[in-house]
Chain length 469, copies 2
């Protein structure tokens, strides 16, 4: 969008910034590990001039006021588990690291809310609420992500089919705006028709509109019982075609995951652990949750019958013992890492398509793999149409991989557009997917987004070069 | 916000606008009934120069292009059931009436979606999907509202406790922007992290950012069984205090409604029908829904036990026969109309507060009624903290009522702010609540909203004078 000339951080800036946080929380230039130049996938990198671990809202306010006045770019970082470069300081400047702002502030049982700081990890939230009988539904694969990062990307996860995504579980946010103003967006309330939904705008804005400093999350009573069905199919096609039919059967699963045999084999190798079954080409994993076993039974029985009698499933394994649950879910949780370990480098596509188009879309990726002679493993949240597709470099040279990747992504996002899908289901746009978003949404919507960015951040100080910039 | 000098519609404008729709769909000046000068509550009015019943998106595009070029203000109207003046043409100009754009376009069973035009009524949606085994959860009291209006105000309703509000049930929107551009915001997908959420911004923007021309709604399998408990309490206080305790009991009700004895008496009189019980001062109505009776039983049994043993309920009536359901829900649905019929004129307050503050807040309205010597009946979605409070004019003169109203509203919204609440839970801001929104959210957030308005509608042509303008 607009051209901004940022100021290079000088000694005076450093001296001032140093006064804003505790001594051990100020890191300069080469004191900052290269891990902080990139995110989990590492497809783009940038070197920060300074990284400040913040401990409270006021520290962030002071940093933003200074940065905004002095035209110094700022990037916010949590655990750095993103995949599209959102936390990478493309223009140098300041990294605000929120990972030490990690207190759980309040469990409010009358209002069913949990108030947290942004650096609290997803797994810490589960560990805190579940033993107390509560449930925070969003369930992204990466449990060591911070809740701030989850909100910034509107993370989804496996239970979205039934419970929705992070957006649906945020009651309110305290944010620091680029000029240093502090605002509460939303409240500890269930309904809100009070003007334009600024909270909604902040969720999924990937740290480009404001910095999340507190979040009030929605909780629900924890479903006590859960059961999964692992359903093998002879071919990938049969497995994929089963998904819309299961949806039509009205059995309300919490999650429907699809994976191929070869993805399981990577996970077995990566974890050094056996999966319950690897004889079939494709698998669907269905999960059901409820207050008691009777509540579940009718639903999973119907689902099992439909799979066996109508959809050609080879078998239905009930995943109910702790041992089986552990083996299945551990494998499922390791897919990304396992595929990453199977290759020299990879890039990913996180499209979301109508659920009726999943089989069609995955078949298309098989054709691309053939056409470009490259390995494209995938797995996905079949129940919500969100696919994770990995293009693996393997033994190709940097240049050949780059060219293939570019051509494959062009075709993939074009296809997503054609079938009524979108660029990102849950990983965001960041730096890596900006052009594809433009391709799918068109110039008008990008211009509206750029306009919104200018309203919040006229100096373009916060996370420049990302999403629409 | 900014000063705009609109053009008065002239003969040339009228001649051109006439060519854009069918002859019978063009109404001019005094041909337009006075009903279209105001909304359901009628607290503000304005006379349109022309009203066009539109039949498709292209007609709206043509009108908007012309209006935007010629600086003629445009207001969109559905059933006109709003309560804050959102559909009132304050500056004259054009009313686009979408009530004839009322086709149900597609039920997609594999993706669990229903595509509709904006003029489809809420009750028509239920009638269409429920016999087919599907469920559209939002449940506002006013079933003859259009879905376009519901989306424009982010309507809530009774089932929000469990299922969320309209926002949570909209997958995608086709909108015409003020300049006539047509955009699809969102898709037929479950997850979306593709840039800033423009769809979210459109929902609840009360016709100030764009015109909804198609909506893809989310459906779920219909819960087959439903049961309600009508729980009488000796005092209002006991009834209200029960609400957070029921939430803490983790029984996941679909709805928790609170009402006072006197509200039931108005409804009995209005409907000419008896309510099952009117001996107690206050009542809570709890609803549970599920796939089968066993699934429900554990929850409603626990709720009943808690009410009787811990919370001092006088009795628990199970509302399970068709006759009882009809009598209870008909009364509940008639509360607004019944209160309206009990007075000469009224205005309403639709605050939403944390659920833990409901008892406190309602007690405060009782104090206000005493202090200002005025009748303030109320009822509310106690389970989600959204209260509907009516200030009744009765025999007061216009001037005295106006003064009392202004003082009472000031106190009410101030109190809402103090207890962590917001101005509107589901009715919106429109014209009537603009100043109170500013009072509660503060200048910064209003400025951000005004900035957003300017991005979408630089000429301020669409619904001027509303929400933030």
């Amino acid at each position: 969008m607009k051209e901004v000339k940022y100021n290079k951080i000088n000694q005076e800036d450093l001296a001032y910034l140093k006064t804003l946080v505790d001594e051990e929380n100020f890191l300069c230039s080469d004191e900052i590990s290269e891990d902080f130049h990139k995110d989990e996938l590492g497809t783009v990198s940038g070197k920060p001039d300074v990284m400040l671990y913040v401990k409270n809202t006021m520290e962030i306010v002071n940093i933003m006021k200074y940065a905004n006045e002095h035209l110094i770019p700022v990037v916010v970082r949590g655990s750095g588990t993103g995949l599209v470069g959102s936390c990478v300081p493309l223009f140098g400047g300041i990294i605000i690291n929120t990972s030490k702002m990690n207190r759980i502030i309040e469990l409010d049982e009358a209002n069913l809310t949990l108030t947290v700081e942004p650096g609290v990890l997803l797994m810490e939230i589960y560990d805190y609420v579940e033993p107390r009988g509560y449930f925070y539904a969003p369930d992204p694969g990466e449990k060591s992500a911070t809740i701030g990062g989850n909100i910034a990307t509107n993370a989804g996860g496996m239970r979205a089919v039934k419970y929705g995504v992070t957006r649906d579980w945020v009651r309110a946010l305290e944010v620091v705006l680029p000029n240093g103003d502090v605002e509460w967006l939303g409240r500890k309330v269930v309904k809100d028709s009070t003007g334009y939904p600024l909270k909604q705008l902040m969720i999924g804005s990937e740290g480009t509109l404001g910095i999340i400093t507190k979040a009030i999350l929605r909780l629900e009573p924890k479903p006590v019982e859960s059961i999964s069905l692992l359903v093998p199919f002879k071919t990938e096609e049969e497995g994929l075609n089963a998904v819309p039919e299961i949806i039509k059967a009205k059995v309300a699963p919490t999650a429907i995951e699809f994976f191929e045999r070869k993805t399981i084999l990577f996970a077995e190798e990566y974890l050094g652990k056996k999966f319950p079954d690897t004889k079939s080409d494709s698998y669907i994993l269905l999960t059901f949750e409820g207050k008691n076993k009777t509540e579940l039974q009718a639903n999973y029985q119907t689902a099992a019958d439909v799979c066996l009698e109508k959809l050609g499933a080879i078998d239905v394994f009930i995943v109910d013992t702790d041992e089986r649950k552990e083996s299945v879910w551990k494998a499922r949780g390791a897919f990304l890492e396992a595929i990453k370990a199977s290759t020299t480098q990879m890039d990913e596509c996180d499209v979301v398509v109508p659920r009726s188009e999943i089989a069609n879309y995955i078949k298309f990726t098989y054709e691309l793999a053939k056409k470009y002679q490259i390995r494209i493993p995938s797995f996905g949240h079949a129940g919500d149409g969100n696919l994770h597709i990995y293009i693996c470099k393997d033994t190709y040279s940097d240049e050949i991989f780059k060219n293939k990747l570019s051509a494959i992504f062009d075709e993939m996002y074009q296809k997503a557009k054609e079938v009524g899908g979108l660029v990102s289901g849950e990983h965001g746009i960041g730096y890596a997917k900006k052009n594809y978003m433009k391709q799918v949404l068109g110039e008008n919507q990008i211009k509206l987004m750029q306009g919104i960015k200018s309203v919040f951040d006229p100096n373009c100080i916060l996370n420049p070069g990302k999403v629409i910039d």
